[in-house]
Amino acid sequence: MVEATASLTLEELALFNELLASKFGLHFPEHKLEILESRLQPRLFANRLHRFMDYYLLLQYDLKRELDPLTRAITNNESYFFRETSQFEALDNHLLDELSQGGRAGKLRFLSAGCSSGEEPYTLNIFLRGFPAALGKDTLRIDGIDIDNQRLEMAELAVYRPTSLRVLNQQQCSRYFASRSGAGGAGFELRPAFRRGVRFSRGNILDPASYPSSEPYDAVFCRNVLIYFSETGLKAAIENFARAVRIGGLLFLGHSESIIGLTKAFQAERFGQCIAYRRKDS
């Protein structure tokens, strides 16, 4: 006889971690057991299951059908505009010029990996368009990828709740956004000028074939995503980024993330207040 609900055991946590690391690179340490439990619980209800082990077994035979809701359940989509801007600020005239010279003439290409609902690539776009002299006639393209389709739809819609704008002052809000009101409450729509050049598609950091372009990028941004990755996942992600960034291009990670000692493909460099990783010539 089964109990109505069961708790996530350590054994089940280890099994889910193994699965999530292989599919998404994600890892939930033991002290986050309850977080994973609360995120997976609705999937148990929806599939009328009582044990996490049964859900794990379901994922063994029906992952394709369950992949989207599982992705939504386990990913952390917390993001907001102008988060950790020191890295964007480092992209000044000089650095942009350098990136532009070193890559494909007339084209600057950036990848935002794990872009959630678009706050990071749009913020990057806002910053870069503040340097018309550096951009010159270059075309600017920013690709945002994420594994969560619902988040990508929100990114394309580009309408945000006030919490996504929480560090913007009033002047910035009105410059970049038009306010909207609807049944769901107040919303802010990013003005079309700041959406131009940003494209979104479904992509898994661990699966380079899912990246939107096989042409190398001038820079990849993957900030505050890899902190949730297992060491194996982190290693695989960095290898994929090494293939996605051109020689001399840059990789930007979150302030608390480091890949020192994990790869020989990148060299850490300081730019103003931040550190970025330069793709070395192998």
């Binding site: 077994l57 029906d62 560090v167 409450g185 000692g261």
Partner: protein
């Protein structure tokens, strides 16, 4: 120990492979490999090898590590391993406190700081007179961590000592959380070195006197101190008080001035202070600030714990703030205007509001709330409705009235509500039988918890007449209630079509007659293989065990790991050899199953195998084996 070996595994992959091979290596070779791996720059490789070292390295060798003056990596590794041993390393650590080498004593004290074992208090007090000031400093910190207020007189003397010892004493007094230390710490707030630590210590101690001391200090020096830190500590102190205190003159005005500060952390700290002080000034703005930093709907911010006056405002907001409103309702049900709750229930809840709403409605008994509960319930998606069931009994009277007056409720929902509101088994059964098949199944899914009513229903007839319609709900109920009578029907259905719920249910029911059928499903290869193996493990018995034993050597890694797990569920003593032979299997999940089985059947050869698993590089395997050995 072989000098200071350099890592020869050059790649991360090689290190991982070596870690995986460690359990099957001879002891001396394994220890040498650990000494190499602890030098690896990868944090993952290092921590796994340290964990293995903690379990496998003998005491004498560990002591040598701690004395390795010329090899910092090895010495630190020894320290980490000793910490990882936890209480198993306690006796050795106490011995090391008496060592002639001050560095070794220092490391022993660091381990005791980590262990926080009260048995270490007296030995640590004796170390307070050690000639090496580094040892004394760490001993002060360790005493603070143990948290025994009897040590306070020992520590107060160090407030007059040299700066480093003074700072350690301030930290320790904060950790001991005794109000006795407040006047002493207050006197240090203006000290250039110890001042910031004294402020932190006051915040840790808490209480009205600590608040007054820090508030007055901030008011006087607010243009000189680090506002982000001090206001954060002040907010922490205020949130810990049972009631809002009388604010010192000028405090509220000074806080107000910073509510629109450029720095988010300062704005949030000020907002927390103002809300906790219950000033009423800028409540709405302060709540917005707190909501921008506190993302958790299920946890009420401490600064509004006592603010029952905020309930109407919060319930009228959206998102996080409405969830907090409901959490406050649960804390202060009698102070809650029912109309505000009714109005808030008109909105469909977001997933993270559901928990707070349920907590609130279990406390508020007003009839109009009960009536609003029905609309709320009807708006919920069907899979979430069962979470509201406990509330239906709480608001029974109001719901019965509403049910009688409302003709728009659809028949299956009406049957469900009538049953949950205490309708007799006979009436519920009759109503269920009057429903069409699809509506009946919908209602049945929601009523599975009412075992008494459910048992009386004609499940067998339904399954015979329309297995497709009733199969899933009947299987769910049979699993819940252990209804073995239905197993033959499920077996028949499984013969017709392979459905996961049937495989799962036959396993849950422990139906031995289904074993041949389940075994048949394993060939040819099926995507349901893990589920089939799991069910065989749940059923158990000689036939299932034999099939599972065969599957453990199938040569297919995925099948083997699930077969080992399933066999572990139903293994008898006859099976333990197969698990002893697999203790060096490359799959950690197989080794975990080995630990389970070998721990269950304690004979000497199994204990030896368990000892090997206790040094496994995968923590859960090592912990499981160790727990059996310790038991």
């Amino acid at each position: 120990m072989s000098g200071a070996p350099q890592p020869f595994e050059t790649t991360w992959q090689e290190c991982i492979e070596l870690l995986d091979r460690l359990p099957s290596m001879p002891v001396e070779e394994r220890l040498d490999a650990i000494e190499r791996l602890i030098r690896n720059p990868s944090p993952g490789v290092r921590s796994r090898s340290l964990r293995m070292g903690a379990a496998a390295i003998p005491d004498e060798r560990l002591k040598e590590y701690l004395r390795a003056d010329a090899d910092d990596v090895l010495r630190n590794a020894g320290l980490e391993m000793l910490k990882m041993r936890g209480n198993r390393g306690f006796s050795l650590t106490l011995l090391l406190l008496k060592d002639d080498d001050p560095d070794v004593v220092l490391q022993a004290v660091i381990v005791l700081t980590h262990l926080r074992d009260p048995r270490a208090l007296e030995p640590l007090r004796s170390v307070l007179h050690h000639p090496d000031p580094n040892v004394v400093q760490e001993a002060i910190v360790a005493i603070g961590q143990i948290g025994d207020a009897r040590a306070i007189p020992d520590l107060l003397g160090f407030l007059e000592a040299d700066s480093w010892l003074q700072m350690a004493a301030v930290q320790a007094l904060g950790n001991l959380r005794s109000p006795v230390a407040v006047p002493h710490l207050k006197g240090l707030l203006t000290d250039f070195m110890a001042g910031p630590l004294a402020a932190e210590a006051l915040a840790r101690i808490g209480g009205l006197n600590a608040f007054k001391a820090l508030a007055q200090h901030w008011l006087r020096f607010r243009n000189e101190v680090d506002n982000e830190t001090t206001l954060g500590l002040l907010a922490h102190l205020l949130e810990g008080l049972a009631n809002a205190p009388q604010a010192p003159d000028g405090l509220v005005v000074a806080l107000d001035e910073l509510l629109d500060n450029d720095q988010e952390n300062i704005r949030v700290a000020v907002a927390r202070c103002l809300l906790a002080l219950e000033t009423g000034t800028h409540d709405a703005e302060a709540l917005n600030q707190v909501a921008s930093s506190h993302r958790e709907a299920a946890i009420l911010p401490a600064c509004i714990h006592h603010r029952s006056d905020l309930i109407p405002h919060l319930l009228a907001q959206s998102g996080l703030q409405r969830a907090w409103g409901f959490l406050l309702v649960a804390r202060f049900p009698k102070a809650t205007p029912a109309s505000a709750v009714v109005a808030a229930l008109q909105h469909s809840p977001t997933p993270d509001q559901l928990g707070p709403i349920l907590r609130a409605l279990s406390k508020v008994r007003a009839p109009e709330v009960g009536s609003a509960l029905l609309g709320f319930y009807l708006r919920l998606p069907e899979e979430q409705r069962t979470s509201v069931h406990p509330l239906i009994k709480v608001h029974r009277r109001a719901l019965l009235d509403r049910l009688a007056a409302d003709d728009d409720i659809d028949p299956p929902t009406r049957v469900v509500l009538s049953a949950l509101l205490g309708g007799s088994s006979g009436d519920v059964e009759t109503s269920l039988l009057e429903l069409g098949a699809q509506d009946r199944v919908r209602a049945l899914h929601e009523l599975l918890e009412l075992e008494g009513v459910m048992r009386g229903l004609p499940w067998l007839r339904w399954l015979e007449e329309a297995p497709e319609t009733y199969g899933a709900v009947a299987a769910e109920f049979a699993s819940r209630a252990g209804l073995r009578d239905l197993a033959p029907n499920f077996r028949e259905m499984l013969k017709q079509e392979t459905r996961p719920f049937l495989i799962r249910t036959l396993g849950e029911l422990g139906d031995r007659e289904s074993v041949p059928l389940l075994i048949e499903l394993l060939e040819p290869e099926t995507p349901f293989e893990p589920l089939v193996l799991e069910s065989l493990g749940r059923v158990g018995g000689p036939e299932a065990r034999s099939a599972l034993r065969a599957a453990t050597s199938s040569g297919r890694p995925q099948r083997e790991r699930m077969a080992y797990r399933a066999l572990a569920r139903c293994a008898t003593e006859e099976d333990d050899e197969i698990f002893r032979d697999a203790t060096d299997h490359s799959d950690w999940y197989v080794r975990l199953s080995c630990a389970e089985v070998l721990g269950r059947f304690s004979r000497p050869e199994n204990l030896a195998a368990l000892a090997q698993l206790a040094a496994d590089p995968v923590p859960i395997v090592a912990q499981r084996a160790l727990s059996f050995l310790e038991a």
